[in-house]
């Protein structure tokens, strides 16, 4: 196990990303923890050369996503896999923003509310783009869609977001954020 140090640092570096993403798929914390453990166990055991992987972060997210779907499939084994994907919980919550307290609570809530109005695909694409700062190619890979759809989901999501938020609300934002 020469790679122990490498695997350890990768685990520590990406754990938060994976745990947060997992909790956006299901609110079962134990399940997410088990899935992350299994993901790394598999990488470790098979000595997968992570250096050969160009987009490590999206590689790990894809692995975790599959693992969680698998677990959910076994747990609710009568539910179709496809239907499970439709019921993704990628939702934005106030906790995601708790430090940004320069915004008033109700303003924060209206943006969160607006974000949650988007389609699940748009929400996930926006989440991956802005929370995880993935490239469009990586988003496409994670969501198993093509590059153009990845871009469209982000763009349309932002477009509808703009429409959902009134200009006046944004102006209040602006004043606060410039202070």
């Amino acid at each position: 196990m020469d790679n122990t140090q490498l695997y350890t640092s990768i685990f520590k570096y990406h754990f938060d990303t994976l745990y947060n993403y997992g909790l956006k798929m299901t609110n079962d914390q134990e399940l997410v923890k088990d899935c992350i453990q299994e993901l790394f166990f598999r990488i470790w055991k098979n000595e997968i050369d992570l250096a050969q992987i160009s987009y490590l972060k999206s590689y790990l997210i894809i692995g975790l996503r599959r693992q969680i779907l698998n677990m959910l499939e076994l747990k609710f084994y009568h539910v179709d896999k496809i239907k499970l994907e439709d019921h993704f919980l990628i939702e934005f919550s106030a906790e995601d923003y708790f430090i940004q307290n320069q915004f008033e609570e109700d303003q924060r809530n209206s943006v969160i509310h607006a974000l949650n109005q988007l389609t699940i695909k748009q929400r996930e694409a926006i989440y991956l783009r802005y929370f995880e700062e993935l490239e469009y190619a990586e988003i496409a890979e994670v969501m198993n869609i093509n590059l153009q759809s990845a871009k469209n989901n982000v763009h349309r999501g932002l477009g509808s977001l703009r429409e959902l938020l009134t200009l006046s609300l944004l102006s209040v934002f602006l004043e606060k954020s410039l202070c």
């Binding site: 350890t8 685990f11 754990f15 453990q37 076994l74 906790e95 700062e133 602006l174």
Partner: protein
């Protein structure tokens, strides 16, 4: 000077602007900072767009989970330690590690699930291990060789799972779809096939076919050689019903009314044999009791002929046939005419005919027309 009216959307949808706000690219940052100094009249809208994007990407506020991370990491380390000890204790392990071959295009996933979860549904035990999962998409067929030498043929649209420690803790697999098994005999270690609806097939060494698609009403198990026990259990793993199959028998389990029917395949008596030479495709079906049927033994072969790439319709409705073809060829098929769905056909295709060749042959006995729409076939009655 010309004034251009900018909209906030123009900014938030601009990829370069997005990169600038996310601090990703020096070029973009320089560009937009310069742009702002030159376009002060658009400053308000510029900042609005910027604050909206930075709000969405609330990266700095991301929850940190230091203690959870440490907890999972500790567990991971002990899992690896246990695995390494196991490998040292059983030096032979590598030589019997699962090797399996599949058609190149078949998706294989190293199932990342605990067999334990599955096990709680079927049996109680503290068995915990990874699952290996073979997914055969519609339009393809595949084969798997299990570590004990058992051969499994998988039909289109099938999910087949087995634990990575198969053989170490018994021989158990999970099936959804259709498979033909040639199980290596081992009296000390029964081979179990788990199916949804709490059904299990217990085998010692034998050849049999299992058909259990989610979208079909019944589950069918056909025994060619040897003996199997087909059983249904309740939540607590107590056997409710069980059937011992003899060779050339098929059990059909109806998921809706939860009823089992046995079909025997027999070599027809000389008189009916003569009859069948006249019309080779006519099926002789005799109902002996409510739960027992007799069929011509030719039918037996046809039930498993899919593994030799033959597509067989045995007096089936066009509706059922379209579902079968959809799975076999991996292309969605829709029949627009309700009456057409009820028309019955019998036929056997062994020459790897295309979906269109088969539809053309059907067209000879029943006037149909079909249109190819983007990855879908739509069938209607020929007018």
């Amino acid at each position: 000077m010309k004034t251009i009216k900018y909209e906030i959307v123009d900014f938030i949808l601009n990829e370069s602007f997005q990169r600038y706000v996310l601090n990703k690219n020096q070029e973009d940052i320089t560009y937009w900072e310069e742009w702002l100094t030159e376009n002060q009249e658009a400053a308000t809208i510029f900042h609005e767009a910027k604050s909206l994007i930075s709000f969405i990407s609330a990266r700095k506020t991301f929850p940190k989970h230091r203690s959870v991370s440490d907890e999972v990491f500790e567990k991971l380390l002990s899992q690896i330690e246990i695995e390494e000890n196991n490998e040292e204790n059983i030096p032979q392990r590598r030589s019997i590690s699962p090797f399996w071959y599949v058609a190149a295009s078949v998706i294989i996933m190293l199932g990342l699930s605990f067999f334990f979860n599955l096990s709680s549904l079927f049996y109680t035990g503290s068995l915990s291990s990874q699952n290996l999962e073979v997914i055969v998409p519609k339009g393809q067929r595949s084969q798997v060789l299990l570590p004990d030498g058992t051969q499994v043929w998988l039909n289109a649209g099938t999910i087949f799972k087995y634990p990575s420690n198969f053989l170490k803790n018994g021989r158990e697999v999970f099936l959804e779809g259709e498979a033909f098994f040639k199980v290596t005999h081992n009296a000390r270690m029964p081979f179990l096939v788990h199916i949804k609806n709490n059904l299990t097939i217990k085998v010692l060494g034998t050849e049999f076919n299992v058909k259990c698609y989610n979208d079909e009403r019944s589950v069918e198990t056909t025994l060619i050689k040897g003996s199997v026990v087909f059983s249904q259990t309740d939540k607590h793993n107590n056997v409710i019903k069980e059937v011992h199959l003899a060779p050339k028998e098929k059990v059909t389990y109806d998921k809706v009314i939860q009823n089992m029917t046995i079909t025997k395949f027999e070599i027809p008596a000389p008189s009916s044999l003569a009859a069948s030479t006249n019309s080779a495709l006519t099926v002789v079906k005799t109902k002996t009791t409510d739960n027992e049927k007799v069929e011509n033994s030719d039918q037996l072969e046809e039930l498993t002929s899919w593994k030799d790439d033959a597509l067989v319709f045995d007096d089936e409705t066009f509706g059922d046939i379209s579902i079968k073809m959809e799975r076999w060829f991996g292309i969605p098929i829709t029949i627009k005419d309700e009456n057409l769905k009820q028309v019955r056909f019998t036929g056997k295709f062994v020459n790897k005919e295309t979906v269109y060749q088969i539809l053309d042959i059907i067209n000879r006995s029943e006037p149909i027309q079909y249109t190819k729409k983007k990855n879908e076939i739509i069938i209607s009655r020929h007018k």
